[in-house]
Symmetry: C2
Subunit: 382 residues, 2 copies
């Protein structure tokens, strides 16, 4: 099956590409190098040194004999995306091509504008390219659990049945997110739902929780296949940041009270979910929404687990509560459903000591690259 991955150079895109290639899918990648360039421009180097995408793909071919196509370009350019569709003729497309950082989206008007234009015009062009060149192609869109926010009622999988004044209707589950980035994902959902109804497209929207981890079977083969893993205040995410802090002997920085609870998953489970979605496509005219995480944890619990695993390796991190740079509820109800991916066959890899220790050991090999001056939050929601 021909699978096109938009954002194929990113933290999720590249490991997904290798996993699918190894599993026998025919894979093509598009990436505009936004993340790489932003990391260079803002002096926020990732943990591991990165080959260019062309070099990565050449190395992958050398190691496995499998080829992956690469286009460096921007999907907000419709002509470019059309050419990719015309030549590759994808049967499924995975859209990771979004500006993925909440703090980046809050930096200022220019970064906000970039986030909106990149994320929404990219999704829109994808929809139009599918309609015009591959109407049966299955779009797999990465949403986020953050779209739901932290409502006072249970979070269902994408939809909510409402009874009101004696009448009933089923709606998209109401969404209200905690950053502009997360809000663009809501806006993506609005747009996809409109076109699914109007054009009968096949769309899967994966409402993903924060992903952690940097090791997949393919990356274990050769460090040079490592994925772009950030730990800085802009592109880093909480669990990976804690791992880096544990390695360099910095206190783990919990924002605010640390009782913020979210659904998390391991990078390898993200890839497994993507593969389940590809292998079980949405029907024509279906917007299938699945909540993609394996366990809910508070930030305090994550910090405690990292401390416990690090302790077994002779590291002894402490925990430091910072003034929360974000505007978010620090104590809240949180009870999200997540049955659909399990029903498709997902076998979760939970956050065990062994998982944490393997990541810590990997980071330790690159300890000399870690810059402790880029970790603490400077971008606020104020």
């Amino acid at each position: 099956m021909r699978v096109l991955i938009l954002g194929g150079d990113g933290y999720l895109g590249w490991p997904t590409a290798m996993a699918l290639s190894e599993a026998g899918y025919d894979v093509a990648l598009v990436d505009n190098y936004f993340r790489r360039n932003a990391c260079v421009e803002r002096d926020l180097p990732p943990i591991f040194p990165l080959l260019t995408l062309h070099e990565r793909v050449a190395l992958w071919q050398q190691l496995t004999g499998r080829s992956i196509q690469v286009t460096i370009g921007d999907i907000t350019n419709f002509d470019l995306l059309e050419r990719v569709f015309q030549t590759f003729k994808p049967e499924a497309v995975i859209d990771y091509a979004e500006q993925p950082s909440a703090p980046y989206s809050m930096l200022g008007p220019r970064e906000a504008h970039f986030t909106v234009r990149n994320n929404l015009c990219g999704t829109l062009n994808l929809i139009h390219a599918v309609k015009r060149h591959a109407p049966d192609c299955h779009i797999i869109k990465l949403g986020t659990m953050g779209e739901y926010g932290t409502p006072n009622i249970d979070i269902e999988e994408g939809w909510l049945e409402v009874e009101h004044k004696g009448r009933r209707e089923k709606f998209l589950y109401p969404r209200q997110a905690g950053s502009l980035y997360h809000t663009t994902k809501i806006q993506d959902t609005d747009m996809l739902w409109f076109y699914v109804r109007t054009w009968g497209m096949r769309v899967t929207d994966l409402m993903q929780g924060p992903v952690y981890g940097m090791i997949t079977p393919q990356i274990r083969r050769d460090d040079r296949l490592a994925t772009c893993t950030n730990y800085d205040e802009i592109f880093g995410t909480v669990l990976n940041r804690f791992l880096v802090q544990a390695v360099v002997g910095m206190p783990l920085t919990v924002y605010g009270k640390g009782q913020q609870t979210r659904g998390y998953l391991n990078l390898i489970d993200t890839i497994a979910c993507i593969r389940l979605a590809i292998d079980h496509p949405a029907a024509a005219g279906e917007l299938r929404i699945m909540n993609q995480f394996t366990e809910t944890m508070s930030v305090n619990e994550i910090a405690a687990r990292v401390c416990q695993a690090a302790g077994q390796m002779g590291l002894n991190p402490t925990v430091n509560h910072l003034v929360n740079p974000r505007k978010e509820a620090e104590e809240h109800y949180y009870n999200p459903t997540h049955n659909k991916l399990t029903a498709l066959g997902l076998q979760p890899h939970l956050l065990t000591d062994a998982v944490l220790m393997e990541q810590l050991a990997f980071i330790q090999r690159y300890r000399a690259r870690i810059r402790d001056d880029i970790i603490l939050p400077r971008t606020t929601w104020a």
Copy 2:
């Protein structure tokens, strides 16, 4: 009070500007001439000849002694919008600066892209300009009743209380619209709601139904003050189109069964609602949503009323049902609330024979300009 009108050259923007200027507000306008240019490029002339915006403002000053500031430029350019805020220092801003046509947004990928970029980056820049230069400024945003679509439950004013599994939450009323244009208004709402919560902004979102009419007290003064009124398949709207068809002796073209029901209002009531919103601003941190229409009617009812009024003027239009170019429910439940503007003091001008006959007589004076070849729908949702 200093009121900035974005989209001040448009069908609603220009009459609003004159009405506010006459009422003593200090008015400044920004417009990128999108609508004018698109009408020229697509050869879709409006009913009345139009002076440029600079000429209109000069004529207005000559007739009334009141000045209105004009900036021709694009609010998706943040630098331009910043300069306007720095010099004019608005206390209220009315955002009419959106690509307003549902069919235009469905023409193809480039028009879709323009609609998304123009509408969302414009709103985003407005939010950032207010935050940076006029944090107490009241944003009055034109939403649309079309955001709600036609759900099977009553439509409330912006918000819905939900009880689910024994717990309660209040959400934005779930929205699902019938065109990409309408969907961008939903996306605007998502974005405004995020920034209202995060930055404590003052926002009024007016969920406006289709507006009809082309006559205000200011326009009665001099035809050269007429507003940009289209009747073509792209920029025309249903009631104004029927009036033009009645004048030129074409059948009134009802799309599909004609049982599609919406809430309508007269142009002069739109202006009255805007003024009520300005004079009663939203609180800091409030997203105030008001449903803005005065009466609900089906397309068939509108056609019947136009036929009746036209008959009294010796015109005898017939009604022709066309295959619906849009994808929309032609039979549906529709019970929207609209109490908030009435509570603020709105006194509706309903669709009477007298109202219709005054519009018909105005159009008759420009009958020679009407082009019957641009009226029938060619743009489909397919």
